[in-house]
């Protein structure tokens, strides 16, 4: 039985080699060659010219992630405290907007934030001056938060519901105040959820190119836009595009490596406390 079963994964192995491993090899190949196909470091080196775009992407992605965490944690906590039946309804409600295509969700904000949009019309109606919102960095962050906040709430919720109530009661019996219980027991125990939430928001936020295009105008170029331009845009240059993709991947891998380190540390620490 064993050898037969192993053979079943052979088509998958072949498929993934062709469609995952080989494309990655091609990205690396393009990144290190010029248009004639000879080896060069020029592409990688010229990525440095775009350091401002990289910094902007990381900064906006980090701000959006932080806002998602600050807004999402209380919500996850509130949901986790509800009776079981209402919990599942609330979780459904958090997930439902995700079922709508994210282009349409972002488009909805376009119509709200425009200079002649609904928010400005409302401001106008109560006699307030117009506020320019679309095509700003703030609008891009708003779009990221709106699109990705469910990815923060859901892992936080699933960790928070699993916290053993008796641990919290034990802390209370030992004289901890409510705020202390929250800071010293609930928050540390929810760390795995925080970490997966942060990665699930940060990775798509950093690499997005649609949100910045639709809500950020031309002035808020992100890494994703830069890559898009090299492959399907005006600045056609797959070699440079591959180099930028490679750098983006390395940045993300480093971020995730740091987060995982943090996670492991927390885990072992927690184990120590529990024992």
């Amino acid at each position: 039985m064993k050898t037969n079963s192993k053979l079943l994964s052979a088509p998958y192995t072949v498929w993934m080699t062709i469609f995952i491993v080989l494309p990655m090899v091609l990205v690396a190949y393009f990144a290190f060659t010029d248009k004639q196909g000879s080896f060069t470091l020029e592409n990688i080196l010229s990525v440095g010219q775009y350091s401002n775009v990289f910094l902007r992407s990381i900064w906006l992605g980090a701000v959006a992630t932080a806002i998602c965490l600050v807004l999402g944690y209380p919500l996850a906590y509130i949901i986790a405290k509800l009776p079981a039946k209402r919990q599942s309804v609330m979780v459904m409600l958090v997930m439902l907007p995700m079922w709508m295509n994210f282009l349409l969700r972002t488009y909805a904000w376009m119509t709200l934030l425009e200079d002649n949009g609904l928010i400005n019309a409302a401001l106008n109606a109560v006699g307030m001056p117009k506020v320019h919102m679309i095509n700003t960095a703030g609008a891009v962050v708003l779009g990221m938060v709106y699109n990705y906040i469910p990815y923060m709430v859901l892992p936080l919720y699933s960790v928070l519901t699993k916290i053993d109530q008796s641990v919290i009661e034990a802390a209370q019996d030992l004289g901890a105040s409510d705020s202390k219980v929250f800071l010293k027991v609930v928050v540390p125990m929810s760390m795995p959820g925080v970490i997966s939430g942060v990665t699930m928001v940060f990775v798509p936020a950093v690499s997005t190119f649609i949100i910045s295009k639709m809500l950020g105008g031309g002035g808020n170029l992100l890494i994703g836009d830069l890559i898009d331009m090299q492959f399907l845009g005006s600045a056609y240059n797959p070699n440079l595009g591959s180099a930028i993709s490679l750098v983006l991947m390395v940045i993300i891998l480093i971020c995730m490596g740091i987060m995982n380190q943090f996670d492991d540390g927390e885990d072992s620490g927690k184990g120590g406390i529990m024992l």
């Binding site: 052979a10 990205v27 919500l75 439902l96 079922w99 709508m100 282009l103 898009d228 591959s242």
Partner: protein
């Protein structure tokens, strides 16, 4: 006191999540000549009429459905086979396979899309033939759906008692029949969930399709080109239709799963 604060907070977050969608839906019924989105000038279904007369949209919808069905079917079969294979591997090769499986899920979508575009362009350079189109989109969709199927099926295999399969064989059942009669019903819930996930992910995908489609239009790609050109209440109408479709689908799935939950209690899932 703190309960009221909690309720207010939840209400505000849900307002933030749903207000834009509500505005979108309300203005899809707006009766206006210009594409004004600030004044509601009366109820009308004309944007829906325009939507269903738009041949390009209907063609994009057809493409999207063909791709989703093909990608879901292929990734379900390949993924289930792979999960069974991976489950019987030893520790080290298992870890290698799981890392490759997880890779597309953690890799930024845009990089996956770009890398596959390079692959298809490269393949045309070597083998000739048509480069980007339905074929390349389907292949790309199968690739990003596979991990989701595998991750749904693997836990079911782990929960299953391996003695069941052996017992069937001891009782004289040939291995293939034992698989279909014993193993498959056990892991069926995982397979079905994986297939539904693959189907919805494929319908919803924009980034990877965008880089692998060439000139072929799918619904998300068409929506994207609509938002680039002009802002028209037709998009609002399309959003409303899609939102309603999702709601109906979710209700059906929920009703079905609660029904089959009861049936499963009485014995056996259905093939």
């Amino acid at each position: 006191m703190s309960r009221t604060v909690g309720r207010l907070y939840t209400f505000l977050i849900f307002l933030f999540l749903y207000a834009p969608i509500l505005v979108l839906i309300v203005f899809s019924f707006n009766d206006t000549e210009t594409a004004s989105r600030t004044v509601f000038s009366g109820f009308s279904l004309k944007w829906y009429e325009k939507l269903f007369e738009d041949r390009l949209i209907l063609e994009a919808l057809r493409n999207t459905l063909i791709i989703a069905v093909a990608a879901a079917a292929a990734s379900t079969v390949l993924g289930t086979m792979a999960a069974i294979g991976i489950n019987s591997l030893k520790r080290l090769p298992k870890r290698v396979m799981m890392n490759i499986t997880n890779f597309p899920m953690v890799n930024p979508e845009i990089v996956t899309g770009v890398s596959m575009m390079l692959l298809f362009v490269f393949a045309v350079g070597v083998f000739g033939g048509r480069s980007l189109g339905m074929g390349s989109i389907i292949a790309a969709h199968i690739t990003f759906c596979l991990p989701y199927v595998i991750l749904q099926v693997l836990p079911k295999l782990r929960q299953m008692d391996p003695a069941l399969y052996e017992a069937a064989q001891d009782l004289g059942c040939p291995p293939v029949k034992a698989f279909f009669k014993v193993v498959l019903p056990e892991i069926m819930p995982g397979i079905v969930t994986g297939m539904i996930m693959a189907f919805t992910l494929s319908i919803d995908d924009f980034v990877i399709s965008y880089f692998t489609s060439g000139t072929t239009q799918t619904l998300p790609i068409y929506i994207y080109s609509m938002t680039r050109k002009r802002v028209s209440p037709e998009i609002n109408a399309l959003s409303t239709v899609m939102f309603a479709a999702v709601m109906v689908l979710l209700i059906i799935v929920n009703v079905r799963s609660s029904n089959s939950g009861e049936r499963a209690g009485k014995g056996g899932g259905q093939g």
